[in-house]
């Protein structure tokens, strides 16, 4: 059971952010009980919604003095339980800090508050001919603060790189309520250590980012999108290897498998993918118009050589949206065929994809589970998603055992336990597959430099909760 906060703590928080922004009513706390990892639910003691860096600092100071843990939260779309409340903790949400502070087209930078939604930044920079490159599939809802904390990727990160490549400066609130500015685009980080890069991906365990400076890019002149239809996943995997090995630099290379195609086509998101296909491959090129057809032609050839049944090419924005639809709506569609979905995340060297995918299929059969794959194939970043019903305890147990096998499989193939969703609560137990005790201890010590009292997101990321408490 969650302990309610002492009245004087609630009063103190109310004085800082106003009564409307301190939530203690159990009904209103319900939506904060979990993030995108729906299998876990914990009710927070309260949710506080500050509006400025100073308010965040005052809230953190007060909670620190009271020894109360803090769980930072953006939009709650995280898939590893990063924003899952801790039983003794208070959630500090950034929903009100949603202002784009400045767009600086001359230096191609933007400064934003952490609660700004990813897609909104790109919309706002469009009139300047600019965009913000990292594009998680959740971009219409997730926040830049969450992206920073998870070092999020997205389909186009194949060409453009992940969040850390674009974050040039941060204002962060650390334990004790210290407001610290890290880096800045004009400053030379080689003079010190790259603290910005270290903070990115810290999963809310180092402090709260309250202001974010990011680099913007010019919008590409043109785009070409291909959809390759394959009889088998293996053939699609070979096409990926061919395309990536041919010297082409596609912007995105994404695969969806038969189970996902079936789910999409059976849903209101039906995208016109043939349901008897083994896999569909989306390949996109962007850049200078003059080179796009050359790239697309060569990729198309690679697809046919790998045995594609059909390759469709979009020539208009509407056609492009149609080709992408099955990929973009995959998660939404799967939500409709099973009560719960465990979105797995792991990376393997790209050349290992065909072999690893075959083994994952075999694991699914052995545990009698439906596994649907939709993933960033160009990066070797897999999402084998397991469909299940959380209320069926026996099935949940099979889900966990299958997940564990998949993690071992990916690590043994030279990969890792998470490519973009983070460790959070979900992958904590797998950290020892990729780090020995010396390395884990190192991670604990580095966290302690930022947060010596383990105030932020206690129990997340690092295994052995005992060592954390």
């Amino acid at each position: 059971m969650t302990r309610p906060l002492a009245p004087d703590v609630v009063r103190g928080l109310t004085e800082i952010v106003g009564a409307a922004n301190v939530i203690t009513d159990p009904d209103r706390l319900l939506v904060y009980e979990s993030d995108g990892l729906s299998a876990y639910r914990v009710s927070p003691r309260a949710v506080v919604l500050p509006g400025t860096s100073d308010e965040v600092a005052a809230v953190v100071t007060l909670l620190h003095l009271e020894g109360i843990e803090i769980v930072p939260r953006g939009a709650g779309t995280g898939l590893s339980g990063g924003a899952l409340p801790t039983p003794d903790g208070v959630v500090v949400g950034t929903a009100r800090m949603n202002r784009i502070i400045e767009i600086d087209p001359e230096n191609r930078l933007a400064r934003v508050q952490p609660g700004v939604i990813n897609a909104r930044l790109t919309e706002a920079t469009q009139p300047y001919g600019l965009f913000y490159a990292p594009d998680p599939s959740s971009q219409s809802t997730c926040t830049l603060g969450g992206n920073v904390a998870e070092n999020s990727g997205g389909p186009h990160c194949l060409k453009y790189g992940v969040t850390s490549r674009y974050v040039t400066g941060l204002t962060v609130v650390l334990a004790g309520g210290r407001i610290v500015k890290l880096g800045g685009a004009g400053r030379d980080s080689a003079g010190g250590l790259d603290l910005v890069g270290l903070f990115v991906g810290s999963e809310g365990c180092f402090g709260i980012a309250t202001e974010i400076e990011v680099r913007l890019l010019p919008i590409a002149e043109g785009v070409r999108t291909l959809l390759g239809i394959f009889e088998t996943m293996e053939a699609a995997g070979h096409a990926v290897t061919e395309i990536m090995g041919s010297g082409l630099l596609p912007a995105a290379v994404e695969i969806i498998d038969r189970a996902t195609i079936e789910a999409v086509e059976a849903s209101i998101f039906a995208a016109g993918y043939p349901t008897d296909a083994g896999a569909a491959l989306v390949v996109e090129f962007d850049g200078t118009e003059a080179g796009l057809d050359l790239g697309a032609d060569r990729a198309e050839k690679c697809c046919f050589e790998a045995g594609a049944r059909e390759v469709r090419r979009a020539t208009s924005e509407a056609e492009r949206a149609a080709l992408w639809k099955g990929r973009k709506k995959a998660f939404g569609a799967m939500g409709r065929i099973a009560p719960d979905l465990l979105v797995q995340d792991a990376t393997v060297p790209r050349t290992k994809l065909p072999e690893v995918l075959a083994r994952i299929a075999e694991i699914g059969e052995r545990y009698d589970l439906k596994i649907a794959n939709v993933f960033h194939a160009g990066d070797g970043n897999l999402h084998p998603n397991i469909l299940f019903d959380r209320k069926n305890a026996e099935e949940l147990d099979r889900v966990e055992r299958a997940s564990t096998e998949i993690m071992h499989l990916c690590v043994d193939a030279g990969g890792t336990i998470t490519g973009e969703h983070g460790v959070g609560i979900d992958k904590r137990g797998y950290m020892s597959l990729v780090h020995n005790e010396t390395e884990l201890e190192m991670l604990r010590s580095v966290r302690a430099v930022f947060d010596p009292d383990r105030l932020f997101n206690r129990g997340k990321v690092l295994p052995d909760p005992l060592a954390e408490t």
């Binding site: 400053r187 270290l198 930022f450």
Partner: protein, 382 residues
């Protein structure tokens, strides 16, 4: 007080590096990791220390062209790596000065990307993994050999650019790229560097992004200042990109006859001057930074205009003038630091520091990597 090393040790394995670090911790001897054997920075301090050379940690460990990743031991030269990559039509898009002579471990420790970062991203975004030995001899494997990896806090980021202050790098895994089929270099010349700033700004806001954009005070003997733009791609895209840039700038570029020779000259210009300063600011401050730096009467000025990162070569430094330049650049939101100290150990002047709060965090991280303070010679320059 400038110190000299007692001797140089040449370990040939990670375990030997660890042994050296453990011994050094026990005996209270400092360690200064060195890779390429280039002139070391003067070490300030009176305590004894050893230089640790990584030259025997040599060789490519793993190269899987289809994965576009390559792992090499720290002492492997970039020339060796380049040769292996080119045989498969690939390359590593980093162009800091004298890159071929550098070792991969040294490059990663220093964290210099060179102007190509405009098109390809910084070195720190392409170091996928590292093995390191901490100041007290712990062997750590950071990151891995996959392109995306967020399993735990990203300790690679502070390692890249730490210049030996945290740990000895023993191997590095890099993300590599397919070679572009066309590498075109465009030039715009004017009498004075400041006359090129407007063009540099236009390039920085053009719809087409070149892979690098550099202002240089001179590209050869008797040559005038130039803006050097590099385009990569296939014949069709490079031609279209050039036309688009020329339209945007309202000028016609001169095409460099030998792209490689010119790029190498620009890349290395002034990097071995007696004193080398590195200034950084926002592109909007290019003119003001040039003015502040020209007051130092430098031998050479080269600026990566995408980040307004300047490399300035001086025959000698006047500490007061350097202090003034620093103050001007810091007022513009930038920084000035020394990349190469004079051979005679003379003072260069005050340079930019991290903020006190950042410094606290830096010291904290240094203590976690190097609790005994063995790597003090690598830190003594700050």
């Amino acid at each position: 007080m400038t110190a000299t090393p007692e001797s140089v040790v040449h370990p040939s394995s990670d375990a030997e590096v660890a042994e050296i670090m453990i011994d050094a911790s026990r005996e209270g001897v400092g360690i200064f990791p060195l890779s390429s054997g280039h002139r070391a920075h003067p070490v300030r301090g009176e305590r004894p220390y050893l230089e640790l050379s990584t030259t025997r940690l040599d060789g490519i460990v793993e190269y899987e062209p289809a994965d576009l990743t390559l792992t090499a031991r720290a002492g492997t030269s970039l020339a060796t790596i380049d040769e292996a990559l080119r045989a498969h039509g690939q390359w590593a898009p980093f162009d800091p000065p004298n890159v071929g002579e550098r070792s991969i471990g040294g490059l990663a420790a220093v964290g210099d990307s060179g102007p190509l970062w405009m098109g390809y991203g910084e070195l720190r975004n392409h170091v996928l993994g590292m093995t390191v030995v901490t100041g007290d001899g712990r062997m750590l494997s950071l990151g891995g050999r996959v392109v995306k990896n967020v399993a735990g806090y990203d300790l690679l980021k502070p390692m890249v650019g730490s210049r030996g202050s945290l740990a000895v790098v023993t191997s590095v895994c890099l993300r590599v790229y397919p070679e572009p089929s066309v590498d075109r270099v465009l030039l715009l010349r004017r009498d004075r560097l400041s006359d090129l700033v407007a063009a540099a700004h236009s390039v920085g806001t053009a719809p087409v992004m070149p892979v690098s954009s550099v202002l240089v005070d001179r590209t050869g003997v008797n040559e005038s200042p130039a803006l050097v733009i590099r385009l990569h791609g296939v014949e069709e895209t490079v031609g279209a990109d050039q036309a688009s840039l020329e339209g945007h700038l309202g000028i016609v570029f001169e095409q460099a006859p030998s792209a490689t020779a010119l790029c190498t000259a620009v890349r290395d210009r002034g990097a071995t001057s007696n004193v080398v300063l590195v200034a950084s600011a926002l592109p909007s401050a290019l003119s003001e930074v040039i003015r502040a730096l020209e007051r130092l009467e430098p031998e050479t000025i080269v600026a990566d205009t995408y980040a307004a990162r300047f490399r300035v070569g001086l025959s000698q430094a006047d500490p007061e003038a350097v202090g003034n330049a620093r103050a001007s650049i810091e007022r513009l939101g930038g920084t000035l630091r020394v990349a190469r100290f004079p051979a005679d150990g003379a003072e260069v002047g005050p340079t930019s520091e991290p903020s006190p709060a950042e410094k606290d965090l830096i010291i904290g991280i240094e203590k976690t990597f190097d609790p005994m303070g063995v790597l003090w010679p690598a830190r003594s320059r700050r």
